[in-house]
Subunit: 411 residues, 2 copies
């Protein structure tokens, strides 16, 4: 298959591109390298020494013999460039990772909120619009997040995208129930997560009106760094973010453990989150590509996660492995202190996914990533300094009322 | 009250601004005049001779003694200008009409789709972001549309925004039902309508995270041209769109009747739509402003419509009044041929709205608007030339399959 990987220079996109290339697919990476510019903006770089995209592509060709295409292109801003690229490459599938993906970054300031909404909405809409215009009938696989949902609190098991509801038609008797299927309702916990709710609406519309074939992967928080492909040469190494904006909770713990700092848990640590190892992520993307919806089908939605954990249990697990201590700090997020989370993930398990469990893979991460590259870390970058509301800004009296947000589960 | 009316030079915004000013409120209009540029792009102008915004403002001061502020500003593009304006004017309320609002226009081409998504999403998000940044605690009243919904087909009565659903928690017995309240699910019929679904998500998020006070008015199709205020002087006259893009179904019929053309009904005319007279619209906006939600409340959603009609019944009504004939033409939209539509509109009726009924007001429109200004019409602009899918383009064979969209009810 010819596959375009949008955002293929990023943390998920790069190992996914290598995995697909390794399987023999013809892969072209499309990325505007904005994530690298954000590294510069934040003064924080990947813990692991990632190479330029040019060096990565060359190294992969040397190591594997497979050619990777690369186009530097802003999917949100350069629509004409995107259309030209699609017409030139004529991909059978497009995997779309090209969005701003950090919740704390999306909450930093009005400019960051606006950038996240503008970039993510226009990136997704441009891809959809271009697929219609070019009439390629390519299968679009998008990376969404489990964090679009917030009804974990009601104790309900989150289905794969849709909910069946029974309604009584106007004027009907109570027995006259009609079954209606709807998108499972969202309740996003940050501007970033909200953009994924907007994406969902865009997908539903284009699948209905234009019969685009779309799969939306509602992904849990990724952990782990290496895949079989990125391990083959240090020039292929994947990024590892540990800063307060991009570092997801587990990576921050690993980093803290590696340098002998206490693990900082936000609030009570009672938030439950969904996780998946990076090796499983690349397998899931492969499986999704091998099972496209038919033209005219509704959007396929899969929950792409393998385990759920409470944040404080995670901290204890890392502490046990590494000997670190645990410290509670105020939560910068506006969310419920404790939440339950039950998720359906039958599709990928049925299609053959064999999950890497946290208990097995964690030690490798501490030893081979966090400790190995600890000398490169800027420890001041570990704390999260973004806050969710005006009231949480340093020096704001706690008098104004805002409603507590229901649970939110993600990066 | 100090009220900022975004999009206050438009078809709804102008009469709403005058009505609020007439009530004694201090009104400032904010508009980038994009609707007038679109008139030029389409080579179609308002049937009625609308004046420049400067002349309108001057005329209103002469006629009423009330000053109207005006700021030319792009709400979607000029965020800093918007923040400066809010800080200067410090409005108690913001009424937000500033979006691209024509479904056929939004479907004309990839560029029109992209403009509509970009303009509407960023306009709404900028307003929300600026209200948080400026900490004004102004009440935001937004004009949404009934066209976000598509479950009319299930025969269900559309509630005012929310749906109660009973769910069984994970591991619970069948008796353990938990009641969850969610946004009533959407099923938009065009890119334009879809942007209003995106707006809904933005509102829900900002009400929850930042406790903004927001009312979203899900409006039916407006009919009628004059209000008590716009009638006071011809320089205050409101716009009347009759072209295939912006002219809503009733206006196109009126225009056709006025010039002795057959009334062109799309498809079987079995589509049911919700309507409201322009005088009732300005009253509803007033009522909404007088009943703001409290800080921390969820978004208030009202259905702002007074009657539903099948398109073919409307055509027959206009034909009966005017003596015109009715002609069926192919439907450019991708939608079900026939749909039912039942809508709850208790809130406004309970708050004192006395609807103007179609049967009463139509004749005035034919006589005093369509016939009176018929000499200004460019009759070639009446047909709708936008189509909803590639398959509907002239010369495309009808072989490729697209799924029939469920019912869609709007302009
Ligand atoms: N990392 C996680 O734990 C996680 C969890 C759930 C979902 N996801 C989703 O997976 C996707 C990839 O996440 P990631 O962790 O690899 O993030 P990342 O920031 O490392 O990678 C995103 C890539 O997209 C590129 N990009 C962004 N905007 C672009 C644009 N307009 N045009 C072209 N390229 C653009 C960036 O330069 C970057 O290389 C995201 O959509 C994210 O929401 C990630
Ligand atoms: N007319 C109807 O039948 C109807 C029905 C349902 C809902 N609505 C909603 O009511 C609102 C107003 O509709 P209308 O019929 O008055 O449309 P309109 O096009 O006549 O008015 C919209 C006004 O907003 C301005 N505008 C657009 N984008 C802007 C931006 N980025 N910055 C500043 N100004 C901007 C335009 O110049 C125009 O004056 C829309 O949001 C529409 O969706 C209208």
């Amino acid at each position: 298959m010819k596959i375009a990987v949008l955002g293929g220079d990023g943390f998920c996109g790069w190992p996914a591109a290598l995995h697909l290339s390794d399987l023999g697919h013809d892969v072209v990476i499309v990325d505007n390298l904005s994530r690298r510019s954000i590294d510069e903006e934040l003064g924080a770089t990947s813990l692991t020494p990632i190479r330029s995209i040019e060096e990565r592509v060359t190294a992969w060709q040397e190591v594997s013999g497979h050619r990777l295409g690369f186009a530097e292109l802003d999917v949100a801003q350069d629509y004409d460039g995107l259309v030209a690229l699609l017409l030139r490459e004529r991909p059978d599938a497009v995997v779309h990772f090209a969005e701003q993906r950090a919740a704390p970054y999306s909450m930093k300031s009005p400019a960051h909120k606006r950038y996240t909404v503008d970039n993510n909405t226009n990136a997704t809409h441009n891809v959809l619009c271009a697929l219609v215009e070019t009439e390629l009938d390519a299968h679009l696989v998008h990376l969404g997040t489990m964090g679009v949902y917030g009804y974990g609190t009601a104790g309900m098991k989150i289905p794969e995208g849709y909910l069946d509801v029974e309604v009584t038609p106007e004027g009907g008797a109570d027995g006259d129930r009609v079954s209606v299927q709807m998108l499972y309702p969202t309740n996003p916990g940050s501007i970033y997560h909200m953009t994924k709710c907007l994406d969902q609406q865009l997908f539903a519309y284009y699948a209905k009106n234009d019969a685009l074939r779309i799969t939306d992967l509602h992904q849990g928080i990724i952990w782990g760094t290496h895949t079989d492909q990125t391990e083959r040469d240090e020039r292929l190494i994947n990024r590892f973010d540990y800063d307060g904006d991009y570092g997801t909770v587990l990576n921050r713990f690993l980093m803290q453990a590696a340098v002998g700092y206490p693990l900082t848990v936000h609030g009570t640590g009672g938030q439950t989150r969904a996780f998946i190892h990076i090796r499983d992520m690349v397998r899931c993307v492969q499986i999704a590509l091998e099972h496209p919806p038919a033209r005219g089908d509704r959007v396929k939605i899969f929950n792409q996660m393998t385990q759920t954990h409470r944040v404080r249990d995670l901290a204890e697990l890392v502490a046990r492995i590494s000997g670190a201590t645990v410290e509670m700090v105020p939560n910068p997020r506006h969310e419920a202190a404790e939440n339950e989370l039950h998720v359906t993930n039958d599709t990928f398990l049925d299609l053959g996914l064999r999950p890497t469990l946290l208990e097995e893979g964690l030690l490798v991460e501490v030893e081979e990533v966090a400790r190995r590259y600890a000398h490169r870390a800027d420890l001041e970058k570990i704390p999260c300094t973004s806050v969710w509301t005006k009231e949480q800004q340093p020096g704001v009296p706690a008098s104004r009322t805002t409603r507590a947000a229901p649970a939110e589960q993600s990066a």
